[in-house]
Amino acid sequence: MLLKINDLSGGYGSKKVLHHIDIAVKQGELVGLIGLNGAGKSTTIKHILGLLPVKSGEILINGVSLEADEQTYRKQVAYIPEQPMLYEQLTLREHLRLMAQGYAVDKTTAEERIIHYATRLRMTKQLEWFPSVFSKGMKQKAMILCALITGSELLIVDEPFVGLDPLAIRELLAIFSELKADGKGILMSTHILETAERHCNRFILLHEGHIAAEGTTEELRNRYELQQGSLDDIYVAAIEEAER
């Protein structure tokens, strides 16, 4: 199992947001993490990235926890945040060099990946630019490139389509498919359910810090007796059931 979260409870300081959740992501799997605002999606992501301390339970990536071996753990996970956060003092190419160096990617591979992914996301012209002159979409693409350059086994993605143009969305989804085929795992938080329905292998629906439902689209349809229902319909049914 690539990512294994066992009985995780956590949150911010004394505020408990997550209550005993279990999540698993296998190699070659794209798992959609969905839920209302404040359901605990971002908190889950922050715990996986080690940005928040775990109160109880454990998080393992390829069987390694952050506490046991921080370098091995961190090397295996890359992150695309919802809000782009770039260093104002580095050009895009310098960001990519830094990420490659910090994730112990060899120089030749790093250069190949820079050319490959920057070309696909139409960012070659922007490689020598500073982020201060980037548009919102360019910043988002830069964050995507920073994550892809690492070649990590697990990709954590938070609302990746915000600010992207249709061509970039299509290319990103194609890249996700290729990563899956290479045996990488992706955990993606999103509100764009139509796209998620077409591309995710499984879904985890969080509600008020609990897992309200999980499974493939078919499994969820069966559970909520919505044989012709879309993910949107299933989502509404799951929230209504959880609030009952």
Binding site: P81, E88, L98
Partner: protein, 379 residues
């Protein structure tokens, strides 16, 4: 919202913030050094004036001051980013606000010329045949230049127009026709009046205010840590090219990141250059006293290391930094402080030795290196 209410709230808020930072700056260690250097500079200037030759070309200095003061222009409009949305409905009714902003900037422009005028006028009266009336006329002309410089920026008028008129007035002073300079500066103000904006140019004025605030924060940042400073970075191609030579090795990840931060930020290389220059000027002023020159080396190097120590703070808390699996941030930070302090101490010691010929400057250099090591190790 009415013009007067808007002006009152904005002006009071801006003044409260300026007062707060000015108070912090007054308590800062660097300001003490600046006071000291300025006071020492005044003593040296006083000695120079006592021995000045009556043939010294004071009129050229006064004329040059006209051009020099026109080169700098700074404006406050007290508008904030959110105004581009919330002030839109009131825009046609903000004439009163525009008037107050203009008056503030004109008065500030006049105040800005007072100290330079006083400094040059004491030289001018010793070297030129002049009367109190002529001096007052010169001050009024210069004040008009200061006001016009600021107002031109506010009205979106090219800087070259102010520079042209100021050069004209300055040349008249240089030709010993200083009293006529007021005619030129009055024409300048008339030109600005004819070209003034009819309606408040919201976006432009918001940008001007942001620039002005950033400039103030950058100065305040020399003395205290300013959290709201929107930092500007310069590419610095040559230095950046040198940093690219750092080995592509996971252990050197933070060497690369910190060196880029150091060479491109004002609180990195900019800080070292500023304090080294101030230190060199201080040593030049005190060159007759070997001990003062010697003490200046650890004093200025210590001040630099003290202020340099937190230069990585902004990037240490950055998301990407926190995610990096490899690299030794602490060791890289120490390396940057050690290398840069060593270079600064060498420059100061060499300058001190050339100026004073005292071997004791090298003792000062050793003490300085000890102080920088203390700050490099400090968490």
């Amino acid at each position: 919202m009415t013009s007067s209410a808007l002006w009152k709230t904005r002006y009071q808020a801006a003044m409260a913030e300026m007062t707060k930072y000015t108070r912090y700056m007054a308590n800062g260690g660097l300001l003490f050094t600046v006071y000291f250097v300025v006071l020492y500079g005044l003593v040296v200037y006083g000695r120079f004036l006592d021995q000045i030759d009556p043939d010294f070309p004071g009129h050229l200095i006064m004329g040059g001051l006209f051009i020099l003061l026109a080169c700098y222009r700074s404006t406050r409009t007290f508008l904030v980013e959110a105004d581009q949305v919330f002030l839109l409905p009131s825009l046609p009714r903000l004439d009163g606000y525009m008037k107050r902003v203009r008056v503030y900037n004109a008065v500030y422009g006049i105040f800005r010329v007072i100290l330079p005028f006083l400094a040059v006028s004491v030289l001018y009266v010793r070297t030129e045949q002049t009367t109190a009336g002529e001096l007052i006329l010169l001050f009024v002309s210069l004040g008009m230049i200061g006001a016009a410089a600021n107002l031109s920026k506010l009205e979106g008028i090219g800087h070259r127009i102010v520079l042209l008129y100021a050069t004209g007035a300055g040349v008249l002073v240089m030709l010993d026709m200083g009293s006529f300079s007021i005619v030129v500066t009055s024409l300048l103000l008339l030109t600005l009046h004819l070209k003034k904006q009819e309606q408040l140019p919201l976006m432009e004025w918001i940008t001007l205010e942001q620039e002005s605030r950033d400039r103030f924060y950058r100065i305040a940042n020399w003395f205290v840590d300013v959290p709201r400073l929107s930092t500007t970075y310069k590419r610095r191609r040559l230095l950046s090219h040198l940093v690219e030579k750092i080995g592509f090795d996971q252990k050197r990840t933070f060497d690369y990141l910190y060196m880029k931060q150091f060479i491109r930020s004002t609180d990195g290389i900019g800080l070292i250059v500023r304090l080294t220059l101030i230190g060199a000027v201080f040593m030049w002023l005190a060159k007759d006293n070997g001990w003062l020159v010697t003490l200046a080396i650890p004093a200025f190097s210590g001040l630099t290391s003290f202020q340099l120590a937190p230069f990585t703070r902004a990037i240490d808390s950055h998301l990407l930094t926190r995610l990096l699996p490899f690299g030794d941030a602490v060791s890289s930070k120490r390396k940057v402080i050690r290398v840069t302090s060593f270079l600064q101490v060498m420059v100061l010691a060499l300058a001190g030795f050339i100026l004073s010929s005292e071997v004791t400057v090298f003792v000062g250099a050793i003490v300085a290196l000890g102080i920088s090591e203390y700050y490099a190790r400090k968490k």
